[in-house]
């Protein structure tokens, strides 16, 4: 094994331990391959010669840690990504959600908010938004702030609009935002009942009983142990027969919590608590 790589393998867990003990962010059970790539990328961007030096800096400079945090999380997301997932929610989950007088919905790992606005639009069109409370949580305060603002690049709207239509959208997608220069500013009323919160799936516990949890492409960054923790958390949060939606390439098969859920729509990863 070459010397430099072995050193990196020593440094990475030490950096994650330092981050955890200093800032309580727990990246210790993330999958290592992508974590390693992201730290190497951060080193280049932050012009830091080694992980050990980065560690020394983040321990003393909270602002440097916040900078690193942006590289440690993956904010790639889009509105109505995998339209069939949202179509499945509309057709297979919404009819059952209608039976509740009030709803609590949790977008776990909401990132910059694209999934949140997609969900809010779907609920509005199904007449459920006014009786829903939506929790939008993430560990990264910078992305939560973006989600709260609801301003997205205008040049993405054409793609989002196509997704929206494919997801069973009932109106014109442009009804939901105002274009200003190169920005699309989303209708504030979509967020009237949204609570934005800093919540860590790795360290925090359940905060509310929920009817639907959508957590897409978050657990792909976790190892088996952390995935188990999160599924246990979701199981605890979900009401009797509550729903869980995952990313289209995620699955419950390799977790011991998998048997506590049943598939509502397997291809589109919609599950229900047994």
């Amino acid at each position: 094994m070459p010397k430099n790589e072995a050193t990196l393998d020593i440094e990475l867990p030490l950096l994650m331990e330092a981050i955890y003990r200093k800032y309580s962010y727990d990246f210790r059970n993330y999958s290592l391959a992508s974590q390693k790539r992201r730290v190497i990328h951060a080193l280049r961007q932050m012009e830091c010669p080694s992980v050990s030096e980065l560690q020394a800096r983040i321990l003393r400079e909270p602002e440097t840690f916040l900078q690193l945090l942006q590289y440690l999380t993956i904010p790639t997301t889009e509105m109505f990504r995998d339209p069939d997932y949202f179509l499945s929610l509309r057709e297979k989950v919404v009819p059952l959600l209608r039976t509740y007088p009030s709803l609590k919905i949790w977008i776990a790992g909401c990132s910059t908010g694209e999934e949140l606005y997609a969900m809010a639009i779907l609920l509005k069109e199904e007449g459920l938004l006014s009786r829903s409370i939506i929790y939008a949580t993430d560990i990264n305060p910078a992305v939560l702030e973006k989600a709260r603002k609801g301003i997205f690049p205008l040049n993405r709207m054409r793609a989002y609009s196509a997704n929206y239509q494919a997801a069973g959208g009932k109106n014109a997608f442009s009804d939901y935002f105002t274009a200003a220069y190169d920005a699309a500013i989303f209708d504030r009323s979509l967020c009237e009942n949204v609570t934005f919160a800093d919540h860590s799936l790795a360290t925090d516990s359940v905060f509310s009983e929920t009817h639907l949890i959508s957590c897409r492409n978050v657990m792909i960054y976790f190892n088996h142990e952390l995935q188990d923790r999160v599924l246990e958390l979701f199981h605890e949060s979900l009401c009797h027969r509550g729903f869980l939606g995952l990313g289209s390439k995620e699955n419950l098969e390799f977790s011991r919590w998998g048997s506590f859920f049943e598939a509502v729509d397997k291809p589109w990863r919609v599950y229900r608590k047994k």
């Binding site: 390693k36 993956i74 790639t76 792909i220 190892n223 088996h224 699955n251």
Partner: protein, 212 residues
């Protein structure tokens, strides 16, 4: 003449198998443009039972990727599957990566998917699979980089070489698109530069060590 060349080629491949074959615990393959034909050529003779798992990143348009498993299942004897997030790497299987996600192999020898930015406009990236597999398997890995019209895979193959694994580049003179093999040859000296027929023989000999 042809017979002599073939014999020589087989002797060379056999030398590599003798030298390193017993170490190899996984095979990773990377290809882009021209890759479907190349992969079908090298994998066609394999039987259903594969002691060494084969993991492939092949760049294809996202809408076509879902059909890869179908197409290859039709032509190959071993089980062909998409590599699923958090599944352990298993023998007797040829794995493809899902479109729109990067594929890595973790040190515990399980797959992880990721939505990091595309690399060389590609997601999955060959570099990410190769580099992570080098970490997971060290010297017990064979990496083969084949035809393609971009430079993905070269760095990954170099990582495999650094970790002590066996590296093979398809002969650029023969490759349908030479950019990818040439990019690798610029970055490293692989253990072998081989034709598709030779790569086919190499993988066959590794998977069936008793084959004459």
């Amino acid at each position: 003449m042809t017979m002599d060349v073939t014999a020589e080629v087989i002797a060379d491949v056999d030398a590599l198998v003798c030298e390193r074959g017993h170490d190899i615990e996984a095979i990773v393959l990377g290809a882009s443009a021209g890759g479907i034909g190349a992969l079908l050529t090298i994998l066609a003779p394999l039987p259903a039972t594969l002691p060494i798992p084969i993991v492939i990143v092949l760049h294809v348009a996202e809408d076509k990727a879902s059909r890869l498993v179908e197409v290859f299942s039709h032509h190959l004897a071993p089980q062909v599957r998409l590599a699923e997030d958090k599944a352990y790497v298993a023998t007797d299987t040829v794995y493809f990566s899902s479109a729109g996600y990067h594929l890595s192999i973790e040190k515990g020898r399980w797959f992880s998917l990721s939505r990091e930015e595309p690399r060389y406009f590609s997601r999955p990236a060959i570099d990410f699979l190769f580099t992570s597999a080098a970490d997971a398997y060290g010297g017990a890995l064979l990496g083969v980089l084949m035809t393609g019209a971009n430079e993905d895979g070269a760095e990954g193959l170099a990582a495999i070489a650094r970790a002590g694994g066996v590296t093979v580049v398809q002969d650029p003179d023969e490759a349908e698109f030479a950019t990818m093999p040439l990019a690798a040859l610029k970055l490293l000296r692989p253990d072998r530069i081989l034709s598709l027929q030779q790569i086919r023989t190499l993988i066959y000999r590794l998977e069936i060590p008793d084959a004459g």
